[in-house]
């Protein structure tokens, strides 16, 4: 099994552990660099938005956080599908390592969204499709983490959590469209979330750089977390014993 495909080789925790360890500093450094560049462009160079004044600068964290919160959920669902289909040990660990970061991103997206909404629309919260779906996404993250934490046997936890992730992936679009439809019928909030189309090039670059920063950051944190989970789960195997007798790297 181990030598048949490369992917199987790196799907084995003993091979992935040192690889992940070697990658962490690179992703962390990339996150810092992209972050500095993005902040410089976004906070110092980018011009004032003609509609929203300086308040729009929240976009430089709000949009990347929202993107990451959704993207991380999709990645977790991808790992869940792999894990359920091929029964690889690594998949469940990856999903679990990503979940807290995804939940934090969803929280950040809601937090910055509220702080953006207050000055722009005069309210902290609207029951708009995007906001509501983001809130539900946060619930799905919390539900996943709670379910995995409640099951003692890690294999069972991986499988049950994976199934929940897949069910969630099917449901997120349904929830999004149902809330959207509900919202347009209610027409309660006279607020449109569509952004002004004339986005300056510097703003766009700032946002993309910040998105890259969040991306690298999430990978780095998830890799550290997955390494911890690996040690914990495989503590009775030879490779963990050898690793522990070394310096844990």
């Amino acid at each position: 099994m181990t030598d048949r495909f490369n992917i199987y080789r790196y799907a084995a925790p003993s091979a992935f552990y040192p690889l992940a360890g070697a990658m962490v500093p690179w992703f962390a450094a990339a996150a810092v660099l992209f972050g500095l560049a993005g902040l410089w462009l976004g906070m110092l160079v980018a011009p004032t938005d003609f509609q929203q004044g300086e308040g729009y600068r929240i976009i430089f964290i709000h949009v990347p956080a929202s993107w990451m919160s959704m993207f991380i959920y999709l990645v977790m669902a991808f790992w869940a599908a792999i894990g359920l289909a091929f029964n690889t040990r690594l998949s469940g660990m990856m999903a679990q390592a990503l979940a807290p970061t995804g939940a934090l991103m969803a929280f950040l997206s809601l937090w910055t969204g509220a702080l953006w909404g207050k000055p722009m629309w005069g309210t902290w919260w609207v029951w708009d499709a995007r906001l509501t779906s983001e809130l539900i996404l946060l619930f799905l993250y919390i539900g996943y983490m709670a379910l995995v934490a409640a099951i003692d046997d890690p294999r069972r936890a991986d499988k049950a959590g994976g199934l929940l992730l897949l069910v969630g992936v099917v449901n997120i679009p349904i929830i999004y469209f149902s809330v959207k439809w509900w919202n347009t019928l209610h027409q309660g909030a006279s607020v449109s979330l569509t952004k002004s189309p004339s986005m300056a090039a510097t703003m766009l670059w700032g946002m993309l750089l910040m998105a890259l920063c969040f991306w690298m950051y999430s990978i780095a944190v998830a890799l550290i977390r997955v390494r911890t989970i690996m040690l914990e789960r495989e503590r009775n195997t030879d490779w963990v014993r050898e690793t522990l007798e070394g310096d844990g790297k």
Binding site: I142, L147, R156, A160, L163, V167, W181
Partner: protein
């Protein structure tokens, strides 16, 4: 194929009849929650009419959830679930049967009660009809989706709370279209569009949920 579904439904209904207290308590919960709202927000008929769809639907949703933890738990505890999983037909069919039985004892009575409770909220006849129809059409989806949650949390500590955490976000589309149908009727827009979307949701949930729940049950039985 149909035989196994009917066999499960027949058995679960018979069991439910021997344990009527469970059904009755869920119904009383529904009645009490719905009746408390006018006392909490005041007797103005206009306000009540506006709130009725949401209140009735949220109460129906919570009442359905009340009986979910026991959907598989009893069978799990006495070993019947193992036998069901070992029967020579897909477990998804067995779950379909259990979901149907759950709906018959939890969702259907709610639909019967709903128009009576709707009268307390001064709903028009037309709105009452749509309310009944929406609960009739929507609650099977609640039972189906709830089955996934019940299977995932089977045998876990604090399973009941966890079950609500997992299931409530997934209930939101049903709630929106169900309450929306009544809402649209009350405001004179007509609830047909909502009802057909609700029916589509229910069909999708009944086609998909039992198999997801069956997969979760196999995990729980390992």
């Amino acid at each position: 194929m149909l035989r196994i579904v009917t066999a499960v439904v027949a058995r679960d209904l018979r069991l439910a009849m021997r344990r009527q207290a469970d059904i009755v308590s869920a119904l009383f919960f529904f009645i009490i929650v719905v009746s408390l709202f006018p006392l909490g927000i005041g007797p103005e008929p206009d306000l009540l009419r506006k709130l009725a769809p949401g209140v009735l639907w949220v109460a129906a949703l919570l009442a359905t959830m009340l009986s979910l933890p026991r959907l598989f738990a009893d069978d799990h505890r006495d070993g019947t679930l193992e036998q069901l999983a070992l029967a020579p037909h897909p477990l998804g069919l067995v779950v379909t049967g259990k979901v149907i039985a759950h709906w018959l004892v939890s969702g259907l009575p709610l639909a019967v009660l709903a128009p009576v409770l709707g009268l307390q909220f001064d709903l028009s006849t037309e709105a009452l009809v749509v309310l009944t129809a929406s609960i009739l059409i929507g609650t099977p989806a609640l039972s189906g989706i709830g089955g996934i949650g019940a299977a995932l949390t089977l045998g876990l500590r604090g399973g009941g709370v966890l079950l609500s955490l997992l299931v409530l976000p997934l209930y939101i589309p049903v709630l929106i279209f169900g309450a929306g149908a009544v809402d649209a009727t009350v405001s004179g827009l007509g609830g047909e569009a909502h009802l057909s979307l609700l029916a589509a949701l229910t069909l999708a949930a009944l086609g998909f949920a039992p198999w997801a729940a069956a997969a979760a049950l196999r995990i729980a039985l390992e």
